[in-house]
């Protein structure tokens, strides 16, 4: 048996370690020209990274179509950019691979219940560009009713299931450390495995965004046997994202989402959008409405989008309120209240800057 020449591989490795020592932290973003919009147009398809297994947000139905709040966000952007909400190619991404998929350009945008945080936003961190938050969430804990667990203190010494690579994992560590509760984090790569282990009884609790827990619970065989603890461990603003360094594309994404908010504020719905456009065209006095619907002015052009991107978007998915009701609201299997996700006019956090 001759000694293995495997040590050869170590040479380039050593070089890399040495080089890394000299390189400085986080080089500043090179001013790359905006190409994403033209790439999307050239391809005539928007590639949208989603979760794909989360009822209410993005879920692949048995008929092979995606539904949910996140999926509708993809559709809205496709309608705005390409004029057709069907021109979306969904990519199921797990939480560990989503940022790499975005950074490497594999997907044009993420609508994958992703929490906006400083380190994900900053150039020295993950360096991605976030749009407006589409769902204000908080982290919760679900336990079986039979376990008798009432608060975090009751989880002392017990295993808790958590999906790895999420902010959830970090918040859990923080909260438990604050209250000096000793626990065992059981981490799994995918939500499937996490909930499989929870239902298998391997852990006493599972933690995630409250909306996700509600969504998963609705799909359990016996939803009544599980309950959400009355704790909110963190703020989880779930936000669509695009790559850093393409401001024009980020703006197009941002204002498409704002248009959904604004439409709700103006009372424009999927059903009445055509009538509203006709009204705006007929009535030259309604300057706000005319500008918003692209009858007047060049907002679309300023964003690199068609002039009528707002009516196209609303016609495709409705306004934000309709999206919410359809996918996660009290009429859906998830039965979530609007709560923080009401319009600012009703005391919520959903607010669009002015279209002007």
């Amino acid at each position: 048996m001759r000694p293995s020449p495997r040590w050869l591989v170590a040479l380039p490795l050593l070089l890399a370690f040495a080089l890394g020592g000299c390189a400085d932290d986080g080089g500043s973003g090179g001013g790359v020209q905006s190409v994403k919009l033209s790439t999307i147009r050239g391809r005539d398809k928007l590639v949208c990274g989603v979760d794909g297994k989360l009822p209410g947000f993005s879920f692949l139905g048995p008929d092979g179509t995606y539904s949910g709040l996140d999926a509708d966000t993809c559709r809205a952007v496709a309608a705005a950019v390409l004029g057709d909400p069907a021109k979306v190619e969904y990519r199921d991404l797990n939480s560990s691979e989503r940022f790499a998929a975005l950074a490497s350009g594999e997907v044009d945008m993420l609508a994958r219940n992703t929490t906006l945080t400083l380190s994900r936003d900053s150039a020295g961190g993950n360096g991605i560009s976030f749009g407006p938050t589409t769902f204000y969430d908080g982290q919760g804990v679900m336990v079986p009713v039979a376990s008798g667990v009432q608060s975090l203190k009751d989880l002392d010494g017990k295993p808790i299931c958590v999906e790895s690579g999420t902010t959830t994992e970090l918040n859990l560590a923080d909260r438990m450390r604050e209250q000096s509760i000793d626990y065992t984090p059981l981490k799994f790569q995918t939500g499937d495995q996490t909930y499989a282990a929870y239902l298998g009884g391997r852990c006493v609790a599972v933690t995630s965004d409250r909306s996700q827990l509600a969504a998963k619970r609705s799909s359990f065989p016996k939803p009544d046997e599980h309950t959400l603890l009355p704790v909110v461990m963190s703020k989880e603003p779930l936000t669509p994202a695009s790559i850093n360094g393409d401001p024009a594309w980020a703006d197009a994404l941002r204002w498409t989402v704002y248009a959904l908010f604004q439409a709700e504020e103006l009372g424009i719905t999927q059903a009445n959008v055509a009538a509203k456009v006709a009204e705006a065209e007929a009535n030259t006095n309604q300057a706000d409405l005319r500008r918003f619907l692209g009858v007047e002015g060049d907002f679309g052009k300023q964003l690199g989008l068609p002039a009528d991107f707002v009516p196209k978007t609303i016609a495709a998915v409705g306004n934000y309120g309709e999206m919410f009701e359809r996918n996660v609201g009290t009429g859906s299997p998830l039965k979530l209240e609007r709560a923080e996700n009401r319009l600012w006019t009703e005391g919520g956090l959903i607010y669009s800057p002015p279209f002007r």
Binding site: P5, R6, V9, E97, E106, A196
Partner: protein, 412 residues
């Protein structure tokens, strides 16, 4: 070879006597045998009771399409059926022709025992499997039809293959790669067929596609790199060594990690293939390195005199390699290479760890479906049987091929 008391030469003894000798030769043996027999019976009994009583096979029956082809669009699935028909026909044809030529089966029989057994098995599977999976009647008939086609082609080619023009017979090895390319077109789209994106392939289809793609393409890579590693030229040798050791030093999952998370940065924008193809290329280069080692072992087993003799006959280096050295080396390398292919087929399950919907990935998605939560045992057992059959079949095929290529094997 089997030392100790189990001498293979003594077959004359009666069956019962042999059994007694083997199982109850000494008191210790008897004790072991009794323990083993009771354990085996108990295990078999509880397994059968579980499989027939407690197990709920609906999780398999309800998801056959997902397991077979994943999310492949229903309107386009006729393309896969067409491919299956073509593969069955060509397999039957090749099988029959192998038997039609006397060198193929050295006993000269047209229907040797193994073949009759195989046909019987196929017939049984075609009749039983679709019914057990609770497929609809049209699908059951389709499976029977495809099996019948395979057997019919085997029969036709077996009986009349010898009278067919030799040109046709020589075409067979060319038709297989062409069929593979055509199959790719059928699956992925093109030539007027609507495109089906790789993210919609799944289940067994994706597993077989990934495995076959990697096996086919890793072969040339393996041969070239093995030749490179044995080359006199230092640059070729060192770069081959570096490639082989880099791949073999790392777990496959880290290489898939490289493919999914870093390859995108290494290629110019837009060049990076879809992540299914990225994984396919990683598997290919992974398998190539291991194959190179198998081929290298084969190369070093060929006496150096062979190359020298070929060269002194005036063959150029490429000619000598291609006509004299490589055929011998590849024959020697065959068992190791097939072993590698088997493990590659198994390694495709790692695709599920990077979120692709191969057979295992599909299985895990199915088990996340609220309707089938907790049906782990049924699903994993089915998959295990499926993989076992595929791998065992590959192993059997390789042994048959080995015998066929063995020049020292004397015809009966």
């Amino acid at each position: 070879m089997r030392p100790a008391r189990a001498a293979p030469g003594s077959i004359q003894r009666s069956w019962a006597h042999a059994l007694r000798q083997e199982l109850f030769g000494s008191p210790a043996d008897s004790l072991i045998s009794v323990l083993l027999i009771s354990t085996i019976i108990a295990a078999a009994f509880s397994l059968v009771r579980w499989a027939l009583g407690q197990a709920q096979w609906a999780v398999i029956q309800a998801n056959t399409t997902l397991f077979a082809v994943g999310r492949y669009p229903v309107q386009q699935q006729w393309r896969l059926w067409l491919l299956l028909v073509l593969v069955a026909a060509l397999s039957g044809l090749s099988w029959g022709l192998l038997r039609a030529y006397p060198r193929a089966d050295r006993s000269g029989q047209l229907w040797p025992f193994n073949d009759r057994l195989a046909v019987g098995l196929l017939g049984f599977l075609a009749a039983w499997l679709p019914a057990a999976l609770a497929l609809g009647f049209p699908l059951q008939w389709r499976w029977c039809g495809i099996t019948a086609l395979l057997v019919a082609m085997r029969w036709l080619a077996g009986h009349w293959g010898r009278s067919w023009p030799p040109g046709l017979v020589k075409l067979i090895p060319v038709i297989w790669p062409l069929l593979y390319l055509f199959g790719m077109v059928l699956i992925a789209g093109g030539l007027g067929l609507p495109r089906v994106s790789p993210s919609e392939w799944g289940g067994l289809l994706l597993t077989l596609l990934m495995a076959s793609f990697a096996i086919l393409l890793s072969f040339p890579i393996g041969v070239v790199v093995a030749l490179g590693r044995r080359s006199q030229l230092p640059l070729l040798r060192w770069s081959s060594v570096l490639y082989i050791e880099f791949i073999r030093g790392a777990p496959l999952i880290t290489l898939l990690f490289l493919g999914q998370n870093i390859l995108g940065y290494m290629l110019p924008g837009g060049w990076a293939p879809d992540r299914v193809w990225r994984a396919a290329w990683v598997l290919t280069f992974f398998c190539g390195a291991y194959l190179a080692e198998a081929v290298r072992a084969g190369l070093s087993a060929v006496p150096p005199g062979q190359l020298e003799a070929a060269r002194s006959l005036g063959l150029t280096m490429p000619q000598a390699l291609q006509r004299v050295v490589l055929p011998q080396a590849l024959r020697i390398a065959l068992p190791a290479a097939v072993g590698q292919f088997i493990s590659l087929l198994q390694d495709t399950t790692l695709l599920s760890l990077i979120g692709l919907l191969d057979l295992l990935g599909t299985a895990r998605t199915v088990m996340a479906n609220p309707e089938f939560l907790g049906k782990n045992a049924e699903v994993y057992l089915t998959l295990a049987v499926l993989f076992w059959c595929c791998c065992a079949a590959l192993g059997l095929g390789s042994r048959a091929l080995e015998r066929r290529l063995d020049p020292t094997h004397s015809p009966a």
